[in-house]
């Protein structure tokens, strides 16, 4: 094993809000890479750190409270520790919140992992009047402890030294372990004897851990290790403990672990001051106040929107201009009136499609910046608390509010954010209704159609109305789902309120790009592919128009006879009740790939003369062709129906089954069709168009 001395893996484990990410960023600098764990979609953050000529691969495991199988995050972290066997595990501990953090530590010790404890935020602990005898505690737990202050980069060198020391010297075989008391220890011994023959459990410590997990009724471990007769034995032992000790075994085990922790703390921790109001608690007196908290919440949400849409308008304008210039520049490479396929592909296909998405990136990034600010400062948990009052009535969790908010930016990262929910039912409900939240990609559609058809005084109320309608439909949808396919008791809200913290620029930057990157990748892959496919649909089969037509009539003729035109025409009978013609039908086909493609598709369909490839002339053309009622119906249909391809893919992955994505797509599209048809027919009947 000579290689292990120059390269090894270090895993970071810790509670959520323990400052683990800050430590990870400090250690790995700009080298990090965000991926996914195979099979599940929990983020896997990795980075490299070089210390004294040794390369450490640092893996930031998801924030967890324990090593049960309660959430996907816990399962992923546990599997990584068991299967990948990192050479060193750094357990990041919020020192100001010691007992609770040590609960995870005890379980890591039980796994027999080579541990280093990073006592993070030790400065805050001192402020709270907590003093540690780290030497004593370290001896008690049998692992090195390094005090760190993540946001000031204090203790990084010492931490790395300790990591290297543990990696070089294999861990001593016997670390201290929790004594569970005579009855439980007997049960453990009985189970361990039965597990002796298991090939994977030659290691005593590992065998003890499996026995403990079996007693705790851990679903995952039972499935893997418990044969039928062993399962019966486990149940018998659990029943025995229940009878003798009068409580559920998992409660008893938790009691003993906390007993062990309080024993350790009694020796080594001194609280000089009683817990007192910190400035964080003072902020909370206002921020979570049952009355004052609500306007604060609303103002902060409004500011999130203001930042996204008002500030975002400027860079968006620059990008639009840049893409228009680029398009003209590429176009000039060919002679005037050229029918070059390559030019057409570049300008009308790729640039129009991807450019439309990229001009929208500033808004997305600003939204994610605002969300990062809310999250990193600690306010997001308060927002979830305030939101729980009304979210609860929809049968949703206060925490569902977070993906909903992200949904205003982009449905794809919003679906990923639904992971903050602990139960599958909550996660599914949230994921299924998320496309109804008007995502950023629908903004260009409103931005094109609203000014084209409605007087300026109506612009803002119209936009608000679509956003509000989406929210109301999502609420109704959630209620409907909870009453039908996802019936069941709402799992009660349990959530930490971490102390407020000053966000760091670096952290904000990283968080903004983590999510913004997902959007960019979508633009680079799914939307690029669909743009090219759509361009092909628009271009082939190529027909020669009658020569007596003017150039723009010729272009219209070519489009009408392309595959897209034919498909649009074929769909026309179906779309007529909605007031849509074949061109809108064709553009909606595009919107099925990605909502914003509707705009570029309409651009291609109408602005066939490339000099008119800007929004203003397109609006004129649309106004000349359609009525305000039709425009309204288009927006309504695209608000509700046909979630984009990326959403379908991510929803299928996150829900674990294509049937959910299919239900989502079909249900929403059917709803959109019925509602739009009703609105159009009613409008038509009262003479609106």
């Amino acid at each position: 094993m000579s290689t292990s001395s120059s390269f090894f893996t270090v895993a970071l484990v810790g509670n959520p809000n323990s400052g683990k990410s800050t430590l990870f960023n400090n250690l790995t600098g700009g080298t990090q890479h965000v991926g996914n764990y195979p099979g599940v979609t929990v983020e896997k953050k990795e980075g490299v750190c070089v210390h004294e000529g040794v390369t450490l691969q640092v893996v930031d495991l998801p924030g967890i409270y324990s090593l049960t199988a309660y959430s996907i995050e816990e399962l992923v972290a546990r599997d990584f520790l068991l299967e990948e066997r990192p050479q060193v595990v750094v357990n990041v501990i919020d020192a100001s919140n010691l007992e609770r953090n040590l609960y995870l530590t005890v379980q890591l010790l039980e796994l027999g992992l080579p541990l280093v404890l990073a006592f993070n935020m030790s400065d805050q602990a001192r402020v709270r009047g907590i003093e540690f005898d780290l030497t004593k505690l370290s001896r008690f737990l049998g692992v090195p402890i390094i005090p760190t202050v993540g946001h000031r980069r204090v203790g990084m060198r010492e931490l790395l030294d300790a990591v290297m020391a543990v990696a070089r010297v294999p861990p001593r075989p016997l670390l201290p372990q929790v004594d569970y008391g005579r009855e439980i220890e007997q049960a453990i011994a009985i189970l361990m004897t039965r597990l002796e023959s298991h090939p994977e459990l030659a290691d005593t410590r590992r065998r003890r851990w499996v026995a403990l997990k079996l007693l705790e009724n851990d679903a995952e471990v039972s499935r893997r290790f418990a044969s039928e007769d062993l399962a019966a034995l486990v149940q018998a032992q659990r029943e025995h403990l229940r009878k003798v000790l009068g409580d559920e075994p998992e409660v008893l085990l938790g009691d003993r672990r906390y007993g062990f922790i309080s024993g350790a703390c009694q020796e080594a921790v001194r609280r000089s001051v009683e817990t007192r109001h910190t400035w964080s608690d003072r902020i909370d007196e206002v921020a979570t106040h049952p009355v004052i908290g609500i306007p604060i919440f609303l103002v902060l949400m409004y500011m999130t929107f203001w930042l996204t849409f008002s500030v975002g308008r400027y860079p968006m304008g620059w990008l639009e201009h840049a893409f228009a210039t680029l398009g003209r520049w590429i176009g000039q490479l060919w002679p005037v009136g050229s029918q070059s396929l390559i030019r057409s592909l570049l300008v009308d296909g790729i640039l129009a499609g991807v450019g439309g998405v990229l001009t929208f990136l500033p808004n997305i990034l600003l939204l994610f910046l605002a969300i990062a600010l809310l999250e990193d400062s600690g306010y997001m948990a308060r927002a979830a608390f305030i939101a729980d009052r009304f979210m609860h009535r929809l049968g949703l969790h206060g925490k569902s509010f977070i993906p909903m908010l992200i949904g205003f930016g982009c449905t794809v990262p919003a679906i990923l954010a639904a992971r903050v929910l602990d139960t599958r039912r909550d996660r599914l409900t949230t994921i299924l209704v998320l496309p109804l939240i008007s995502c950023g990609a629908r903004l260009p559609i409103y931005a094109l159609l609203v000014p084209a058809f409605f007087p300026p005084a109506l612009h803002a109320p119209m936009m608000w109305m679509f956003y509000l309608l989406g929210i109301l439909l999502a609420a109704a949808g959630a209620r409907l789902l909870r009453a039908t396919v996802l019936r069941g008791e709402t799992v009660p809200l349990v959530m930490d309120l971490p102390p407020y913290r000053m966000p760091t620029l670096r952290g904000l930057w990283l968080h903004m790009w983590e999510r913004g990157g997902a959007y960019l990748r979508k633009a680079g892959t799914v939307i690029l592919a669909f743009s090219i496919a759509l361009w092909a649909l628009n271009t082939f089969p190529r027909v020669t128009p009658p020569p007596e037509l003017t150039p723009s009539q010729q272009a219209a003729y070519r489009l009408e006879h392309s595959s897209a035109g034919r498909l649009g025409r074929a769909l026309e009978p179906v779309l007529r009740p909605l007031g849509f013609d074949w061109r809108i039908g064709t553009a909606i086909l595009g919107a099925m790939a990605a909502k914003e493609i509707f705009v570029s598709q309409m651009g291609i369909l109408f602005a066939v003369d490339e000099k008119e490839a800007e929004l203003h002339p397109l609006r004129e053309r649309l106004r000349a062709t359609y009525t305000p009622l039709t425009a309204f119906c288009v927006m309504l249909f695209l608000l509700i129906g046909s979630p984009c391809a990326a959403t379908v893919v991510v929803a299928a992955r996150e829900s674990g089954a294509w049937k959910w994505a299919a239900l989502q797509w079909g249900g929403l599209t059917a709803l959109a069709y019925l509602l739009t048809a009703a609105v159009y027919q009613a409008g038509h009947w009262i003479g609106l168009g």
Binding site: Y65, S66, T68, Y70, S96, N97, E99, R100, Y103, L104, R128, E216, N217, G246, D247, E248, E250, V251, G254, D255, Y258, E274, T275, R276, H277, D281, D284, E285, T288, H289, P290, A381, A384, F385, D388, R389, H392, G398, D422, T490, V491, P492, L493, V494, M495, D496, L497
Partner: protein, 104 residues
């Protein structure tokens, strides 16, 4: 386990009251989660905010957490400071009178 029924539930605790957790009757998974988050038998909790409806905020070992009302109803406690009145619409300001929370 019938004995625990004698204890009031956490949701009945007025803001500012300190109590000791006597039993938690949650499902298997949730029980484990609460234990891991520091809410376990024997621990002292202080009610920070309970307005009689909606989720409540409690402090456990210096750490604040939000509990849904339904959840709090399944946590049985032994109140240590006197006030165990039914939840009135007490303002969170009342936490200032809570024991061990001197200002400064």
């Amino acid at each position: 386990m019938e004995t625990s029924q004698r204890w009031p539930s956490l949701s009945e605790l007025a803001s500012g009251t300190v109590a000791q957790v006597k039993a938690i009757h949650a499902g298997h998974g949730l029980q484990g989660r609460l234990t891991a988050m520091g809410l376990h038998r024997g621990v002292h909790v202080r009610m920070i905010q309970n307005v009689g409806r909606g989720p409540l905020i409690v402090e456990v070992a210096g750490n604040r957490m939000v509990l849904g009302r339904g959840m709090a109803e399944k946590v049985y406690v032994h109140p240590l400071s006197a006030r165990t009145t039914r939840p009135s619409s007490s303002e969170p300001e009342s936490t200032k009178d809570g024991p061990g929370s001197g200002r400064s």
